[in-house]
């Protein structure tokens, strides 16, 4: 894995009286152990990849407590795991990235929520919304609503997050309903402290097993006719039970203030941002004492009608601070007030924007607009409006003065084995003509950015081949689907390959076999190499495909640009119909470097022969056209001022971060670019043969007038 938590997980052993210090993700793990879970699982994806990494690194601690850990192959299998809590008093938690992961898990979620649970079941959602998000901007709230799963959104500080996890299990059990806990990206990585408690060993777990299965009970199945009964149970029993629990245990917070004629209802996760915005407007102090009363919803679904009514009674207006669209909470508040016959005016989307992240700037504006509209007495409205205006004005002014800055999107790492495949694709297209490229989720989606700018659609993880199914039959040239090995095992194997073979599709699939789920931090996947500290069984993609009936199959080393371009061309041109698969084979360079560097250092220490390779460019041969960069885009291939006093265009250069993958040379060669590239090698701890050959060569070349180390010294 990219990041090791071996050191940090020791904090999971803390007990009563200790203070836990660390990151949000780690605090959630600790809270799970304090809640006495019997099983955990999930599928990686930002911002909760690290949660799974933490669990994997904490395997020893989990084993002591008898907690079963499953690194699932996709979110559907993670959600299905929660099925253990339908019949048994087992607490369990799974995690994935929302919204996309929840989409994949949706089938299992419906079937879980309908019969309900006896053991607390919790889903920790990495809510990838706003800044840094890498997925479609949709809300998980819709799933909570439609499946009747409670949705927790705690205040983003460690004590609140931990309490919400613990209370969440109780809520789940009290109402026989699974719960979801959403954590925004910054909350996952927020640091802080909370008073730790002892870890709890579950009643039943790996170390004290359940004696036998429960008796057959039809009512525990999501199967008609009981599904009709379950639908009624959801609304008539579980919902009231949940509301009662939330009310009785005060899961939501109420902050009182002196400006009582108005109020604010805020999603728990946005509380700190709202309090800080109020503080900047002079309406709160730094310790969270607010002049305007606030209702903090640590549980955003269900809303407790009595709480809403009690808060709004006597208020002219309330502002609902709810990120994302549709405005579910705002609508519910409106309905509750109408039912209660209250005339409190509800503001929300209006003073606040309909979509996008509620940053400090957005909130300053929204609050100022709300106050300007409602004009509560005892508040200096004009001063507040002026302050909010100044903030925006400044941003507009400085942006205009500096002009548009070039963006810096993420890209393939130095030496990434996926980059050469796109170089080869680009070269193949020059010869064969442009092709439809069906892109996928994973590092390879960086090819949609410059310099490749490739990919006509992205339909979901492992879906590239399936999303080209109707393109091929309607187009002259075969479409090319690109998929990672992570995507292949997550979904692509069935949705893409099996479906294509079943329907005798005639397309091309390029599988990036780098050995890990790389984009999320190099987690193991079923085809990761077995052995070492790997948990993987080492399944073979190639054999899987052959067994399924793929006839045209080539495995090409991904760094061999010319061979890859030739294979792609052959796949495009061949008269043979059917699915053609090219496995681009090359280990994730981040993972490889981590391993190889340590190995080489060891070898050097032991005095063994090590060859160091790096690439370079002769700056007096390069003419500054940058074709090489347009075909490679390697971070260590960059530009520098020309050393030629008569030229102004910068020339290409290879910087120190080069890992010697050789792509730049391959590309220069395959694309016939220019003779500037060279590969330089040095042998550390050389054998006597290395020295002898070198010595002879040096003597002769020196005699011919060339560079000789000794003569130069």
């Amino acid at each position: 894995m990219e990041r090791s938590f071996k050191k940090e997980v020791q904090a999971l052993r803390l007990g009563n009286g200790d203070t836990f210090r660390g990151e949000g993700i780690l605090a959630v793990t600790k809270a799970l152990l304090q809640s006495g879970v019997s099983y955990v699982g999930g599928y990686q994806g930002a911002p909760v990849s690290h949660l799974l990494d933490v669990l994997v690194d904490a395997e020893d601690i989990l084993r002591e407590l008898g907690v079963h850990l499953e690194t699932c192959t996709n979110e559907a299998s993670a959600a299905a795991m929660l099925g253990a809590s339908i019949n048994y008093p087992l607490r369990g938690a799974v995690t994935w990235k929302s919204i996309v992961g929840t989409n994949v898990a949706a089938d299992a979620l419906s079937n879980l929520a309908s019969p309900g649970v006896v053991g607390g079941a919790m889903i920790i959602l990495g809510e990838d919304y706003g800044e840094g998000a890498s997925v479609i901007q949709e809300r998980s709230y819709a799933y909570a609503l439609k499946s009747t799963i409670w949705l927790l959104d705690p205040r983003p500080d460690l004590p609140s997050i931990v309490r919400t996890v613990e209370k969440g299990f109780e809520l789940s059990e009290a109402s026989h309903t699974p719960v979801m806990l959403e954590l925004r990206i910054r909350a996952c990585h927020v640091t802080g402290e909370f008073p730790a408690k002892d870890n709890r060993r579950a009643q039943y777990s790996g170390v004290s097993r359940i004696p036998g299965p429960v008796r057959f009970e039809y009512g525990r199945l999501a199967h008609p006719p009981v599904t009709f009964l379950q639908e009624r149970l959801k609304t008539e029993e579980r919902l009231p039970a949940a509301c009662a629990f939330i009310r009785d245990h005060r899961l939501n917070e109420f902050i009182d203030g002196d400006v009582r004629e108005i109020g604010i209802i805020v999603m728990g996760g946005l509380t700190n941002s709202v309090l800080r915005a109020l503080e900047r407007l002079g309406l709160a102090d730094i310790f969270g004492v607010s002049r305007i009363p606030i209702l903090v919803l640590n549980v955003v679904y269900p809303l407790v009608p009595e709480e809403i009514r009690a808060f709004c009674t006597g208020k002219r207006a309330v502002l609902v601070v709810e990120e994302g669209y549709p405005d579910y909470i705002e609508q519910t508040v409106n309905v509750e007030l109408r039912r209660a016959g209250l005339s409190t005016r509800v503001y929300g989307k209006g003073p606040l924007p309909k979509t996008g992240e509620y940053t400090s700037e957005v909130l300053l504006h929204g609050l100022a607009a709300y106050l300007q509209t409602t004009r509560p007495t005892g508040v200096d409205i004009d001063a507040i409006a002026a302050k909010a205006r100044a903030v925006t004005a400044r941003k507009t002014d400085v942006s205009a003065a500096l002009g548009g800055l070039p963006p810096r999107p993420p890209t393939f790492c130095t030496g990434c084995p996926e980059r050469p495949v796109f170089s080869a694709l680009k070269l193949m297209q020059r010869e064969v003509g442009p092709t439809h490229i069906s892109a996928d989720i994973g590092c390879h989606s960086f090819a949609t950015f410059a310099p490749f700018s490739m990919g006509n659609s992205i339909l979901g993880y492992g879906m590239s081949l399936a999303s080209a199914a109707a393109v091929g039959p309607n187009m002259d040239r075969r479409p090319i689907a690109v998929m990672g090995d992570g995507g292949f095992w997550h979904n692509g194997l069935i949705t893409g390959v099996a479906s294509s073979l079943f329907n005798k599709g005639d397309g091309i699939l390029v599988i990036m076999q780098n050995g890990y789920a790389s984009a999320t931090g190099q987690q193991y996947i079923p085809s990761s190499a077995a052995g070492g500290d790997s948990r993987a069984p080492g399944m073979s993609i190639e054999q899987t495909l052959r067994a399924m009936g793929v006839k045209w199959l080539r495995t090409v080393r991904s760094y061999s640009v010319a061979r890859m371009a030739a294979a792609l061309k052959a796949a495009m041109k061949t008269a043979e119909r059917g699915l053609k698969v090219i496995i681009a084979d090359g280990e994730c360079q981040l993972a490889r470097q981590r391993r190889v560097r340590a190995e080489e250092l060891e070898k050097l220490k032991r005095g063994e022969r090590v060859k160091r390779v790096r690439y370079g460019i002769d700056d007096d041969i390069c003419t500054g056209d940058h074709s090489c960069i347009r075909l490679s885009g390697c971070p260590s291939l960059t530009v520098k001022p020309s050393p030629d006093p008569l030229r102004t265009d910068p020339v290409a250069t290879v910087v120190d971060s080069c890992v010697g993958c050789g792509l730049c040379g391959e590309v220069a060669h395959a694309a016939v670019l220019c003779p500037s590239f060279y590969r330089a090698e040095v042998v550390r701890n050389p054998h006597w043969t290395d020295r002898a050959i070198f010595h002879i060569r040096q003597r002769v070349i020196g005699w011919l007038g060339g560079y000789n180390v000794k003569a130069a010294a």
Binding site: P47, G132, A187, H189, V190, G192, N272, S273, R276, I286, F287, T359, S360, V391, R394, K395, V398, S399, L402, G403, L405, P407, R408, T411, C413, T414, R612, D618, D620, I621, D625, H626, S627, I629, R630, P635, K640, P641, P643, D644, P645, L646, D649, G665, H669, V672, C674, P675, F677, Y678, A680, V682, V683, I696, I701, G705, G706, Y707, V709, A712
Partner: protein
């Protein structure tokens, strides 16, 4: 105590620079001193060389003195609410400024002057780099206090990591209630690469405490060797003063490239331009511009020049010592060459080369037939191959490439002279068009084709009076810029179409 607010610190870093470690150090130091502290980040793409930020809030009152109260910490920076901004790269410093986080009433900004160019800047066919001065000016203008230093060089010189240098810079800026000693003890407690990190920390600390701002050294230029040839001296009394420096460099370069006679040809061409310059009152500007481009064009890149560079002693010394740091250890250098028919026939006289090229064209060899080789220039046979090529220099003037180049140069100079009679600006733009022709193989062919397109579609019509003189310079300039926009030539085609649309219309438009 009511007036106390958190001290807010925004770190703008790039993947792999250790922003996460830096954040951990600061949080650990503040926490050890008993201050409430919180950090957040947006990692994920951090390892993938994208831009990333870390945000820290430190409350400057110890927790013990707060009783039950706890400050509300924000998870993201607010405009006008940031005390310290540190950016490890200049463009990222600019990005923080455009986002509004640097305000003159409050923010201390520590910015690196080093650049890590973005993809858009790198893939430009000419010079796509963002204006560095504009960024530096923005830092100075927007911050309450600005400190600019080349963190990249500071890091490399101290043999450390950017994170350690940044910690030193933050410690030294005097805005945090944490002493340098405390930070050092945190680095020690961390226990990883302690010595290197302490070196980096101190380098940063000292730089900021001594207010030693510097922006790195400019890249050294490689000038052609001095000669004692008369032709070099001749420049000083035949050309105007403003053009002499460039022209002398040109003369030296061409002596090294081919010989004294070739340098004399250069000078005589310049003198002809000088005559035109004097006629039109160019005050040496034309000579200056031509001197630069003509020297580059006349020293065109052919196999002889490439071979000479490849076996140059200075090159191999640089690679062995500076890049490989080979201290007596065996090393080798392998060059990637892939000449096609054109490269192989360059040195042949036209009478032999033409039939070969004619055949090659008929049999569609161009762009298809190449002779790929990886030559180890540090092996005897590899060295000899390059040596033989380099020694073929005497053949060059008889070769077809040489003759083609001279024809093209003459034709270009002729256009320049004619353009000068219309306007100096127009002539200047025609001169600059020479920059389009560069590189090898396809790149060279594309550049030449673009140049010819502009020549036939814009320059020649303008010379024939098809464009008003004031418009001619603009038209050439925009066509040249368009040619450098994309390698597929879409921008150029669009630009030429726009120029065409304007040409016949001047009367009708009124």
């Amino acid at each position: 105590m009511d007036n106390l607010r958190p001290i807010n610190l925004l770190i703008a870093a790039l993947g792999g620079e250790g922003g996460g470690v830096l954040t951990e150090w600061i949080v650990a130091a503040a926490s050890e001193m008993g201050f409430p502290v919180q950090s957040t980040s947006i990692p994920g793409v951090a390892q993938r060389t994208g831009a990333t930020t870390y945000y820290i809030e430190i409350f400057p009152q110890k927790t013990d003195l707060l009783g039950d109260k706890r400050p509300v910490m924000a998870l993201a920076p607010g405009i006008g609410d940031v005390d310290i901004v540190i950016a490890s790269e200049l463009l990222e410093a600019g990005r923080v400024i455009t986002n509004g986080f640097v305000t003159p009433d409050r923010t201390v900004m520590i910015a690196s002057t080093s650049r890590l160019y973005t993809m858009d800047e790198k893939i430009a066919m000419g010079d796509g780099r963002f204006d560095q001065e504009k960024l530096i000016e923005a830092v100075r203008r927007n911050a309450k206090e600005a400190f600019l230093v080349d963190m990249d060089t500071l890091t490399r010189r101290s043999g450390s990591m950017p994170s350690a240098v940044m910690l030193g810079l933050i410690a030294g800026c005097g805005r945090l209630p944490i002493t340098a000693e405390r930070f050092e003890s945190v680095i020690r407690a961390d226990g990883k690469a302690t010595d290197a990190n302490l070196r980096g920390f101190r380098a940063g600390l000292e730089a900021v405490q001594a207010r030693r701002e510097w922006t790195g050294e400019p890249t050294p230029k490689k000038f052609a060797p001095k000669t004692s040839e008369l032709v070099e001296h001749e420049v000083t009394y035949t050309l105007p003063l403003v053009a002499q420096e460039i022209a002398i460099e040109g003369v030296r370069r061409l002596i090294a490239y081919q010989g004294v006679g070739y340098a004399q040809l250069y000078l005589s061409r310049l003198r002809a331009i000088n005559d035109v310059d004097q006629t039109v009152g160019g005050q040496g500007k034309l000579v200056c511009d031509v001197a630069r481009q003509l020297a580059v064009r006349m020293s065109f890149e052919d196999v002889v020049r490439v071979a000479e560079v490849k076996i140059s002693r200075e090159r191999l010394r640089r690679i062995a010592q500076d890049e490989l740091r080979a201290n007596g250890e065996p090393f080798s250098v392998h060059d990637f060459l892939k000449p096609g028919i054109e490269e192989l026939t360059q040195l042949l006289p036209p009478i032999i080369a033409r039939p070969i090229l004619w055949l090659a064209e008929r049999w569609e060899w161009f762009g298809r037939i190449h002779f790929g080789m990886k030559i180890n220039v540090t092996s005897i046979s590899g060295y000899l191959r390059f040596l033989v090529l380099a020694k073929l220099k005497w053949l060059r003037p008889y070769g077809i490439r040489y003759q083609q180049e001279q024809e093209q140069i003459e034709s270009w100079l002729d256009l320049v002279k004619k353009a000068a009679l219309i306007s100096i600006d127009f002539a200047h733009e025609v001169i600059e068009c020479a920059r389009l022709i560069k590189g090898y193989g396809d790149t060279h062919a594309r550049g030449l084709a673009n140049y010819r397109l502009i020549e036939t579609r814009v320059i020649r019509p303008a010379l024939a009076g098809g464009l008003p003189p004031a418009k001619a310079a603009d038209a050439v300039a925009s066509a040249r810029t368009a040619a450098l926009k994309d390698p597929e030539g879409e921008s150029l085609a669009k630009c030429l179409a726009e120029i065409d649309a304007r040409v016949p219309l001047p009367a009708a438009a009124e």
